[in-house]
Assembly symmetry: C2
Homo-oligomer: 321 residues x 2
């Protein structure tokens, strides 16, 4: 067993090369630069961990990991165009530096390159892996569309938001684990359990992300808190507050959505606290984490093999004391 940190290192080593030819430079150099600029490589490592849960890590799991990382980067480059985002990973976005046409086409070719990595794997499970990869890719696109649609909708329910966030972020985490498990020779039942683990872990992570944007320590969170509140972003917190607030809190919350005053963040946080949104979110996160860990427990391999995935959960989710 190599475990989380060794697999992170060995993925970096495997991935640290050019992925594209040298010409056309105008198309490929911006992509190499973007890919080298990193990110946490969580998804590819989850694929390797999904494999290692069931057996030694097979070279095919690295090919799939690379495909997943390219796919993830394709979504970032295209989402940044759609969102007109100026920054990504602390640097100007691809479209900001190289123009929208190159960023758009560069995203396209990263998606094609992801399929090239998929096609490197053993023909014995190509159809199965390709099927899961395709379904997941389509779901991620649907999640992005729902996210954009929600911006102009006033009546987004918690259930709508959960569907959107599951499609936009969780299914790729879940599929990364399952694709690794396929290569590792997992049974269909164990594959479904590892998928469920990843999906619920992803939801718990998103709840935490929404929570930290409101209640996080600016120093350890690494960015200014309250960004979601200032932009009226629909989050687990806002959607629940809109459902839970009553009386003057309800009136003040609706009023806050229509303004952009200096103290907006402070006032909305006050409403959140009075409505118990913080406690509710912590509990909801814990619920999804428990569901994830329950699926992991059900998987029919020895507990010692599961240690890396438990470590991953702790790495991603800060547990309640």
């Amino acid at each position: 067993m190599q475990g989380l940190e060794n697999l992170q290192l060995s993925f970096e080593t495997y991935f640290a090369h050019r992925h594209f030819p040298s010409v056309p430079k105008t198309l490929y150099d911006p992509l190499e630069e973007f890919l080298a600029n990193g990110g946490k490589r969580i998804r590819p490592v989850m694929c390797l961990l999904g494999n290692e849960l069931f057996g030694n890590v097979h070279p095919d799991a690295y090919h799939i990991s690379a495909a997943i990382e390219l796919f993830h980067n394709f979504t970032l480059v295209h989402d940044d165009i759609m969102d007109k985002a100026p920054l990504r990973r602390g640097k100007p976005t691809v479209h900001q530096v190289h123009g929208e046409p190159t960023a758009l086409l560069g995203g396209d070719v990263m998606l094609v390159a992801a399929y090239e990595y998929i096609n490197r794997i053993d023909a014995a499970y190509l159809k199965k892996v390709l099927s899961l990869f395709n379904r997941t890719a389509r779901e991620v696109c649907e999640g992005q569309q729902l996210d954009m649609d929600f911006e102009s909708l006033s009546n987004v329910t918690l259930s709508d938001y959960l569907t959107m966030i599951t499609l936009k972020t969780s299914v790729l985490l879940a599929a990364s684990l399952q694709m690794g498990a396929i290569v590792g020779g997992a049974s269909e039942g164990n594959q479904q359990l590892i998928y469920s683990f990843g999906k619920n872990l992803g939801i718990a992570f998103q709840i935490q992300d929404d929570y930290l944007d409101a209640f996080g320590d600016p120093l350890s969170f690494g960015k200014q808190v309250g960004g979601d509140i200032r932009s009226n972003k629909k989050t687990f917190l806002l959607i629940h507050a809109l459902e839970a607030a009553t009386g003057s809190d309800r009136e003040q919350l609706h009023a806050a959505l229509l303004e952009n005053t200096e103290d907006k963040v402070e006032r909305v946080l006050g409403i959140y606290k009075r409505c118990g949104v913080d406690v509710w979110a912590e509990k909801l996160k814990q619920d999804y984490l428990n569901r994830a860990l329950h699926s992991l427990e059900e998987i029919a391999v020895s507990a010692s093999r599961k240690q890396s995935l438990v470590a991953l959960s702790h790495y991603l989710i800060k547990r309640e004391k």
Copy 2:
């Protein structure tokens, strides 16, 4: 043997259904509308013809045809964003009607759907077909990037242009035929010949397209002639004229590129004719058509099986009298 027209009809029948789920409507309805609006379906029919050259048309050839048509439509939707094109097939473009984010994401999901069709085929040749599909998709992206790069380059040679146009348009025609041939059980040698036929036919078609934009009959061409000249678009004709013109023709051509007067088209056409660009282009088209037909002749099947592809050549390329 079903032949060109029957296969065109049977592809239309096969393809005439929804390709996407009903939700999210905002993502999928614009795509269904765009796909239903047609186009000539040349590429999918080439795939079916490539199969029928070697044997009865297999259901898998229809799946690949659908993948090719979705891929082609993905490139149109994204190219139209990159080119800021207002019209496509006589109607407002997808981004014009539904906004750039939806057009961008819609293109992405059409590409994913293309891979879903590819994954429906028999596992026996999945790897081979996916490999050719991936390589071709990447080349088409490279061709689009070169096309964009050429807009701001002053020294594009005929060889550069040929590379660009081969990648941007010919390789997809060639690969469509070859993927059909793979399903039809063609030998590796015959696959290369049918690929070569499609590639050269595609180049001949592009030369004709450039020619007709300058010298075509506006009535039968279906659009105003001279559009390429007005926009200084690098075409076979302009690039050759820049190489061939001497003396005052050369001076006048360079001067014409810097202006946008009423009589620009007329004057440039005059230069083209004095330099023999029209005769040269007709001959170049014929050369590539001959190369294509030569490859077709070399294929080791009876001449009667080749009639549909000869008919396709005549359908696409108007022969010199």
